[in-house]
């Protein structure tokens, strides 16, 4: 059977769940227009690619994320083994991410694409945070600019964002 059902509408299902629990509606971020468009200036095979993921990935030895609007981030060395990566998050089933962090933080995948020349290189530093943050303001005003500044300093050409 091919896909027979449309994409899961998480906004609608969250609304229904909150209604059932007696909560007021959740306010999703709504942007009428996308942010400014930036054209790719060279082929992917020449690009240094950055990675930012919100799946709650940390490395053993780092402080884990907490679940109360944690707007901190972790720097992950993309040259080190992903066997020491961990996952913590309250809003998705962690089973598969703990079995293979590449499902939400594709470091091995991107290193492989760099080896085969599909991308120029993977940046040495990737960034992880735990996306269960109820304050969109804190993300917009603090976390997002911090990470954007860091990837620019890292000299990346494009960044792959992997939310959960």
């Amino acid at each position: 059977m091919p896909n027979t059902r449309p994409p899961v509408d998480y906004i609608e299902r969250t609304r229904a769940q909150y209604d059932a629990l007696g909560y007021p509606p959740y306010h999703w971020v709504e942007n009428a227009t996308p942010p400014p468009w930036a054209e790719l200036t060279k082929p992917l095979s020449q690009c240094r690619v950055g990675l930012i993921g919100s799946g709650g990935i940390y490395k053993t030895g780092q402080v884990a994320f907490h679940y109360k609007d944690d707007t901190s981030a972790r720097i992950i060395d993309t040259r080190e083994s992903t066997a020491t990566l961990r996952a913590t998050h309250f809003a998705y089933d962690l089973t598969d991410a703990r079995s293979d962090p590449n499902v939400v933080f594709p470091i091995d995948t991107l290193n492989g694409l760099a080896r085969e020349g599909f991308i120029g290189s993977l940046a040495e530093r990737a960034y992880a945070f735990m996306g269960g943050i109820y304050s969109s303001r804190r993300v917009r005003e603090r976390l997002a600019p911090e990470l954007a500044n860091r990837v620019v300093r890292d000299g990346v050409d494009v960044v792959l964002l992997v939310p959960v």
């Binding site: 299902r13 690009c47 996952a87 594709p106 694409l113 792959l160």
Partner: protein, 124 residues
């Protein structure tokens, strides 16, 4: 990349690639490197193929032979149980995957802090 199309359309990034997988698998399936390589390659291709702000590339992968998994997503059982409430009270205690992780991190902190942690001050 995204596995939540309605949320991504609401946030409206310049470009996106949609993978119709359950949450927690934005970049593929566990321990399937060949599949994941194809998925991430196709997602990256959107950097070259999408030409209009707000476009979403629909990736041609499906999670299973049918879409039955979609039926149970965030459908509270009836009557609604506290178990279904993801908005329980939370605190700022780090949530380690393992106790060993906690010990390693606390030892690191005792030696002077987590050098690869990025702490942000809460805006006033």
């Amino acid at each position: 990349m995204t596995s939540a199309l309605s949320i991504t359309r609401s946030a409206n990034p310049p470009r996106a690639a949609y993978l119709d997988f359950p949450l927690g698998h934005t970049a593929g399936k566990p321990n399937q490197p060949r599949l994941n390589r194809d998925i991430v390659r196709d997602a990256l291709n959107a950097f070259e193929t999408l030409k209009q702000p707000g476009q979403v590339s629909m990736l041609p992968y499906q999670w299973a032979d049918d879409d039955a998994w979609k039926d149970g997503v965030m459908r509270p059982r009836s009557p609604v149980a506290k178990h279904d409430d993801s908005r329980v009270e939370r605190d700022a205690t780090p949530q380690y995957q393992t106790e060993q992780d906690r010990a390693l991190a606390e030892a690191e902190l005792a030696r002077g802090g987590c050098a690869t942690c990025v702490w942000l001050d809460d805006p006033a």
